[in-house]
Symmetry: C2
Subunit: 195 residues, 2 copies
């Protein structure tokens, strides 16, 4: 028997799951909906993802990963650390706003996972904190920044910008003053970092 | 007819409401429970507070006001602005933690009101931002701090310390690392303020 033209891969399942989540929302979407969209049995889906929770984690991870690439390019780039940090924080805020506005159903899934303290969200946080620490450490190495401990400073930068990346604040991201508030916080933090 | 020995005042109603909220929680407590605790009809309670929502706002306001006094004494006190700002932020965080831990039912009421964007919570925020701006402005006047706009800087300090006062983060306030995280954020902000 020849292999099917379009074999059922994890990537295809995740793509269909994103569509189903967008259409039905995280509360109503089921594995049966995903299987139906793919024209396969739900057993076939379960062969790749053992539970509905595992599938939901994987789809969120894939969605968050797209954001990492842009941010990691900034973190690992050249130029003054202050400029990279400013661009990194602005890119993170822009990505979150875009997701909350353009992709509200997947954003709601992410918010639910964040509330459940899932492994996916913990890994995502670890990745972003490492990127922040890379920028801080390079600024210290170049004599631009003063910081005893790059990891602790990265955590402080993350905490201090929570209003501009924590999904709990998404409803405030359309406020007309939010951009000025963001700039004010960033500039205060950058002044605090300068050597 | 002589006046009753214990006239029904707003203060007595608010005290009874606090007790009722502590006992039944914000979801179950009713105006009838408050009236019963006072030995009066619910009509008597409604003569002082027109709706259940008005009563709930008033009890939250009274509860938040107790916190203002301690903080305003620090804001209006003497000594270096840096020291006052550090103490003010620490006192706010301590008060929030105490309330979340010791008074979870009233804290839940406050959290509900905060989500509804109530007038009480907006007034509370305005009062606290004014206190922060007072400290910043006095630091600028003494040549300790550099800040173009004390009100905008106060807002930035408030936003940057959200993890340590926003009730949405209450579940993290028992984490063993939270005190170190708080200190790291405060010291970064204070370095950013220095002239």
């Amino acid at each position: 028997m020849p292999p099917p033209e379009n074999p059922l891969t994890p990537a295809r399942i995740l793509e269909a799951t994103e569509d189903v989540l967008r259409r039905y929302g995280p509360a109503k979407a089921t594995v049966v909906d995903v299987a139906r969209a793919l024209g396969v049995s739900h057993g076939s889906v379960y062969r790749h993802f053992a539970t509905k929770a595992a599938l939901r984690e994987a789809v969120t991870e894939r969605w968050l990963d797209r954001e990492h690439d842009e941010l990691s390019a900034i973190a690992d780039g050249n130029g003054p650390a202050e400029d990279r940090l400013r661009r990194w924080l602005a890119a993170l805020f822009a990505a979150k706003r875009r997701k909350a506005g353009d992709d509200p159903e997947l954003f709601a899934t992410f918010l639910e996972l964040a509330r459940e303290n899932s492994g996916t969200v913990a890994r995502y946080l670890t990745t972003l904190l490492k990127q922040l620490a890379t920028i801080v450490a390079s600024g210290v190495a170049d004599g631009e920044f003063a910081a005893r401990d790059a990891a602790a400073t990265a955590r402080a930068l993350w905490d201090a910008t929570a209003r501009f990346h924590d999904p709990m604040y998404a409803s405030e991201w359309a406020d007309p003053e939010i951009d000025a508030d963001f700039t004010e916080v960033c500039e205060l933090l950058l002044r605090g970092l300068r050597a």
